[in-house]
Amino acid sequence: MSRDIKREHIAKRVGMELADGMVVNLGIGMPTLVANFLPAGVDVLFQSENGFVGLGPAPSAGQQDKDVTNAGGQPVTILPGGACFDSAMSFAIIRGGHVDVTVLGALEVDERGNLANWMVPGKIVPGMGGAMDLTVGARKVIVAMEHTAKGMPKILRQCTLPLTAKAQVDLIVTDMAVIEVTKEGLVLREVAPDTTVQAVIEATEATLIVKDVAVMPV
């Protein structure tokens, strides 16, 4: 399976977590793809932490507005019914629990729902941007990522990189599986049709609670 198709499957599965009327913030990179895979009849309001809600698709060529970009700096549009605000309001929305779902990438995630996605000491230190606020503030935190990186597990017993937030992740969606973070630990909910429970367990460092596993709809 090509990487693009993997990413598409992940985005599609994350899309199924969204319900009509939700306020949703999609992280930079792969999470952005989720906007392309909303189930029929589901109309969500996308929040862009640089200062608006009602984030729409990229504009057609020549229609770019220098003042309308997403949090990654790409030209986007604002849909009718959207609203602009300053950074204090943007993060009041985020920190105050007014975002229903945030979808973020991860370098590592662990058994207690800890997330590391903002730096590799001595290597890349891009900064946390809005990720720490989003992870702490959003009602539901979904990590969307490939299950492994260069064959190494990313779902660990305990994160080794500096944390983005402690015990905030609710759901992990990868190309191989859907895993729920519960008080008891990580529960394997779904496995992709092209793999097996055993393969997922092997690709995961963390302990998985396995019971009534469904096939991941992709």
């Binding site: 929040q47 809600v53 019914g81 309001m89 009041a92 929305i93 920190r95 105050g96 007014h98």
Partner: protein, 223 residues
């Protein structure tokens, strides 16, 4: 998405005795009178009410006080409604006086997910009683905690069907803050316009905060 436009009765259907409600307005400028009327009509009682002031006896929050529906009120000023003072002195209603700027920040803090703010206001006065004092860089501040509510009853000039709100002049006051700080936010508005008719830069309260929009009743002459 289903429309947010409904009636006052439907919007307040979940309001129950003993709940905490915020009511927008400053001396009844920017107060949703129709929603207050609906609370009166429903008969809801033992409310905790948070507002700038207790208005006048015959308007806004004042009417709820006079009708004895309020168990506790948190406000910065009660002087324009003698009945509030009377009930306070008679021990019938609990009155917590909060400096107006502190009230604004406490409501905002709840909406913004902050655990509190440090303010210099009230240091060395009775306002500091029971509060944690924290020194930052050699200056003393009071730790003021967030104030949230079950319902916020607010007033706006204009809304679209997604609940985006625009306020007018001094009728803005506490309304945008309360819109952030309650589980159910009901906005009484003077005008409802189609989605897209309010420019994104003109929106003062994004619709995501607003649960229901109720059109202000136009009182016919003679009513």
């Amino acid at each position: 998405m289903p429309s947010k436009i409904t009636t006052a009765a439907a919007a307040l259907a979940a309001l129950q005795d003993d709940m905490t409600i915020m009511i927008g307005g400053f001396l009844c400028v920017g107060t949703p009178e129709g929603l207050v009327e609906e609370v009166l009509r429903k008969g809801t009682k033992d409310l905790t009410v948070i507002g700038s002031d207790t208005s006048f006896p015959e308007r806004g929050i004042g009417k709820l006080i006079v009708a004895k529906r309020v168990k506790k009120v948190m406000a910065s000023h009660i002087g324009t409604n003698p009945e509030t003072g009377r009930q306070m002195h008679a021990g019938e209603t609990e009155v917590v006086l909060v400096p107006q700027g502190t009230l604004a920040e406490r409501v905002r803090a709840a909406g913004a997910g902050l655990g509190g703010v440090l303010t210099p206001t009230g240091v060395g006065t009775v306002v500091e009683e029971g509060k944690q004092k924290i020194a930052v860089d050699g200056r003393e501040f009071l730790l003021e905690k967030p104030l949230a509510a079950d319902f916020a009853l607010i007033k706006a000039h204009k809304a679209d069907e997604k609940g985006n709100l625009v306020y007018r002049r001094a009728a803005r006051n506490f309304n945008p803050l309360m819109a952030m700080a309650a589980k159910i936010v009901v906005a009484e508005v003077e005008q409802i316009v189609p989605v897209g008719a309010i420019d994104p830069d003109e929106v003062m309260t994004p619709g995501l905060f607003v649960t229901y929009v109720v059109k202000e009743a136009v009182h016919e002459p003679g009513h």
